[in-house]
């Protein structure tokens, strides 16, 4: 008997499907049969709707363990390994038979990967700083922040006073060890060879705890006596420099600096690794430094000069947040009142050791290697972008060539290949390409490492290759690369229907075409952003370096004054004699002395300046340095009001006020309406009474990174630095003449000279490095993008061979055909350009925020970059287009 409604008679199909999924195949037939028969019987007896309810119950009643599919595969396929072998064989043959595409893919990918590897090395190096200390998690540097009134605390410096460390050690029990550090440059010689003197700028004064806190292992000598007063430790390299083959332990070293002393060498330490932010060759006791008269007579019991950095090691169980509060409490206990009087607030903070290197915002008094976390991020992103551009090439070329593979896919499917197997096959091909590229990439990266080191003054070394995390990263890149590049083409290729494919009808879906175009647009967007970036960076760089400083730095030679003077020589007259003798030289046009030089900071940073009549709370912060009477003329400083030091007679009287000259900015900051109004006004500069005698037009003493500062010049008769304006005629002779005078007057000193403009330019060292690295990567990125475009163009030209043949037969000109073939890609580049403009504009403006003096990004920059990208793309494409266009139509039409 037939049920009335056949649809209702049938049990719910979804339940059957479910059962099919779950039930093991050898039981499925009887189970399904049972269910259906029972359902039929129930429909007869109870009616369709009730039967359906019972059906569900019945199906559920079968949900028992024995019915489910087992995890273990019943049919272990012995062919699987053979198939994978076959996939690789086919992949290998395909690589060989399509040489152009394979080369494009592999070269692109290997360059992309090499970029990534190099950048990985760079990032890993920058991140490795100071991680080698065993106690590193418990080590901190103390930062002291200042603010005035409602300002936010400025933690820009790691400078603390000498008295801080003893006070903290006494009152904060969580501190296990504490050390003060101070680095200096001094004159050093082996006591046995006093005539051989060296200038040593990597000298570190430290407390004895230093060696307990940091892992700088002593390799020879007596650990017990290390950092005792009067002893010195040398690095292996320094030991070699001063004592040669002689055992340095027990030898005597003469050091001339703030304190002149003999030091007994008691030990040798392993050379400081390059990835330590502290760099030093000689380690001396800080007690010896504090014995100097300056520090013995330091006012306020050692709390007034913030000349030291302080490092602490916390007890492993201590809570850093609690300790941080205690530090501030201890400090304010000592200094709270004084600070309040000066209108300052202050707080201490702890900076974990591992954060020091990449935190360029904080500067410290020690010789430091400072990196920039922003640079690290920038390059990580650029590396990834480069790799992505290369992966996109692979995706584009493989999907484009899918048509050629369609028949193969069809045949494989007909023979019985499943979709999963085909996906596997194409992933294997992608893997093969990626692995080949990776091997090449390692070679390329190894070859490029010294090149990049030279360009960017980095310390990348091949030692990275032995690190396990490097190989892990490479493996990860390889797997993501394989999957990212292989998955989409694999799906496209494996989804061909064998019937249509074997009939010869294959159409690329428009979705794929759009995707490919989208990816090309993306590539060019990224490339154009990088090109714009390069142009902006170089523009900014040349703007900074070529900027009118208001100072004339050309042809200025600078010499550092003597450190060591013969006994009982008064330094000031000795310098005066030196200056006098230099003025006598014909080739020297001008001579001036000062205590610092342009581009090399000031003597007094953070001086509180106010009108003498003003409230201390209204003081502004400024900087001070000392110059002699010829300085302004030599450097071309121009007065806008008042007099220079050369125009007045300076009083020697004890009670005479301190005469100062400021820049315009200072008078504005102090609230004078015009510079002229400031003349003869009395100031209070850090507690000293001062009188403004002149105002210089604003000039730029430091790099374009910083804002214009409030600058005050005091007068000095001599000063440590001598500036000479020399004629460029026969410069070597002039220099040797100066040197002979120097050596004659100051025996036992090292004659060093520099050109001030070059030294000034040194401030842009990091920027130049950044620009060079950036342009290298931008160039590589656009190169890879063009490789891909070249491949696509070649492919299109190949595809449209017949069409072009017919067009030519019908009378199309070569130009017409070239335009036809090129215009599509050019459109994509133009779209990429349009997308890139706002992105590049945004990112580069972000970058420019770092500079106080910066360029505006002009439209020309974009046009230039766009035009360049367009030209490169056009050149790439037209090579193929022209080749296709000038081909003889007979060749393309004769076949078939």
């Amino acid at each position: 008997m037939e049920a009335k409604n056949p649809k209702k008679a049938h049990p719910p199909r979804w339940l059957d499907k479910l059962l099919e999924c779950l039930c093991t195949p050898d039981l499925l037939e009887e189970v399904m049969g049972d269910l259906h028969e029972r359902h039929y019987l129930r429909t007869q007896k109870l009616g369709a709707s009730k039967a359906r309810k019972y059906y569900l119950r019945d199906v559920l009643s079968f949900m028992r363990p024995y019915i489910f599919k087992q995890k273990t595969n019943y049919y272990i396929n012995p062919l699987q390994f053979a198939m994978v072998k076959n996939y690789f064989k086919i992949a290998y043959r395909n690589l060989l038979s399509k040489k152009v595409y394979s080369t494009i893919n592999i070269i692109g990918l290997s360059i992309g990967m090499a970029c990534c590897l190099l950048i990985f090395q760079y990032v890993a190096f920058e991140m490795s700083f100071d991680r080698f200390h065993e106690n590193q998690p418990n080590l901190y540097r103390i930062l002291q922040g200042y603010a005035r009134g409602g300002e936010a605390l400025d933690f820009g410096g790691a400078y603390t006073a000498q008295a801080l460390a003893p006070a903290l050690k006494e009152r904060v029990p969580e501190i296990l060890h504490i050390t003060r550090l101070h680095s200096d440059d001094v004159i050093v010689s082996n006591a046995d060879q006093p005539e051989q003197v060296f200038e040593e700028d990597k000298v570190l004064y430290a407390d004895p705890d230093f060696l307990k806190m940091f892992s700088f292992p002593i390799v020879a000598g007596d650990k017990q006596r290390a950092l005792e007063p009067g002893t010195a430790l040398l690095s292996k390299q320094a030991a070699l420099k001063y004592f040669g083959e002689v055992n340095p332990v027990g030898q005597v070293l003469d050091v001339t600096g703030r304190v002149d002393q003999h030091y007994h060498v008691v030990g040798v330490f392993q050379d400081v690794p390059v990835n330590s932010h502290l760099q030093f060759e000689i380690l001396l006791s800080i007690d010896d430094l504090l014995k100097s008269e300056d520090y013995l007579n330091e006012p306020e019991g050692g709390w007034s000069w913030n000349n030291f950095s302080t490092y602490i090691e916390l007890h492993p169980t201590a809570n850093p947040a609690v300790v941080e509060q205690k530090l501030t409490e201890v400090y304010l206990n000592q200094r709270g009142e004084v600070l309040q009087q000066q209108g300052f607030r202050s707080e201490l903070r702890m900076q974990p050791l591992k954060d020091i290197h990449l935190n360029a915002e904080v500067s410290g008094p020690s010789n430091e290697v400072i990196g920039s976390s922003r640079t690290v991020y920038f390059f990580t992103i650029i590396g990834l972008i480069t790799l992505c551009i290369a992966l996109v090439n692979y995706i584009n070329l493989s999907t484009a060539r899918a048509l050629n593979r369609a028949k193969e896919v069809g045949v494989r499917k007909v023979i019985g290949a499943q979709k999963r197997q085909l996906i596997m096959q194409f992933l294997c091909e992608s893997a093969l390409t990626n692995i080949t590229a990776a091997v090449l990439a390692i070679a390329v990266a190894a070859w490029l490492t010294p090149v990049v080191n030279g360009l960017a003054q980095t310390h990348l070394s091949l030692s990275m290759w032995v690190r396990p995390d490097f190989w892990l990263a490479l493996l990860l890149t390889l797997i993501t690369g394989t999957v990212l590049a292989g998955l989409y083409p694999a799906f496209v290729l494996s989804s061909f229907k064998p019937v249509t494919v074997l009939k010869g009808k294959v159409h690329l879906f428009s979705a794929q075409l759009w995707l490919r175009r989208g990816l090309v647009v993306l590539q060019f967007t990224a490339s154009i952003v990088l090109v714009v970036g390069t142009v902006v960076i170089y523009n900014q760089l040349s703007y900074m370096r070529g900027r009118d400083l208001g100072l004339n730095l050309e042809q200025v030679l600078t010499i550092e004054g003597p450190r060591v003077l013969p006994e009982e020589t008064d330094p000031a007259p000795a310098m005066a004699t030196f200056l006098q003798q230099l003025r006598g030289l014909l080739t020297i046009e001008q001579v001036a002395a000062s205590t610092t030089l342009p581009g090399q900071g000031f003597n007094w940073n953070g001086a509180a300046i106010r009108k003498a009549t003003d409230d201390p709370a209204n003081a502004i912060r400024g900087v001070a340095t000392y110059i002699d009477t010829s300085f302004a003329k030599l450097y071309g400083l121009t007065l806008v009001a008042g007099n220079g030091f050369e125009d007045i007679t300076l009083s020697d009287a004890e009670d005479a006020p301190w005469m100062v000259i400021t820049n315009e900015k200072t008078t504005k900051s102090l609230g004078f309406a015009t510079p002229a109004e400031a003349i003869d006004q009395m100031l209070d500069i850090g507690g000293h009474e001062a009188q403004i005698i002149g105002v210089y037009k604003d000039f730029n003493w430091s790099s374009a990174h910083g804002e214009q500062q409030n600058i005050v010049f005091g007068h000095t008769g001599s000063g440590r630095y001598v500036s000479l304006r020399v004629s460029m005629h026969d410069l070597p002779a002039t220099i040797s003449e100066v040197q002979s005078i120097y050596n004659q007057l100051f025996p036992g000193n090292v004659f060093n000279y520099e050109f001030v403009d070059q030294a000034f330019d040194q401030q842009y060292k990091n920027d130049i490095r950044f620009a060079r690295l950036f342009s290298v990567f931008a160039g590589l990125a656009i190169f890879i993008a063009c490789l891909g475009l070249f491949g696509l163009a070649a492919f299109t030209a190949q595809q449209r061979k017949k069409e072009i043949g017919i067009r030519k037969v019908m009378g199309a000109s070569v130009e017409h055909v070239v335009t036809l073939l090129s215009i599509d890609y050019l459109k994509l580049v133009i779209i990429g350009f349009v997308v890139a403009v706002p992105i590049a504009w945004y990112i580069m403006n972000l970058w420019l925020q770092d500079f106080a003096y910066r360029i505006e990004i002009e439209l020309e920059v974009f046009l230039l970059a766009g035009l360049a990208a367009g030209m490169i793309a056009l050149a790439t494409v037209s090579w193929q287009s022209i080749k296709a266009a000038i081909a003889n139509p007979v060749d393309s039409l004769r076949e078939e």
Partner: protein
Amino acid sequence: MRRSDIGEFEEIVLLTVAVLTPQAYSVAIAEDLEQQTSRTITTGAVHAVLQRLENKGFVKSYMGESTRERGGRRKRLFTVTVTGSRMIHEVRAVRNSLWDRILPQSLPQINMA
């Protein structure tokens, strides 16, 4: 648990197999039991018990013919093995001896229809 143990439901299914042989398969058994006990017996429960009985060696099975109601699928037919036969005979002997030992007054009177 000894392999020869047999539960109450298993025993009933085993007996039903014996009753319905040579047309003993899960649907027929379930339908028959439903009629006999006037309880709902799910196919899955019967199927599972048959599976268990076969594992214990009390029944053996072979694939039978297909029918239209089953959507052309074959059914699995069951017959009682010698072990199975011995088992139900043992069970029956135990029961019979128990019945025989019940004194006439021990059970409350009921009226069997």
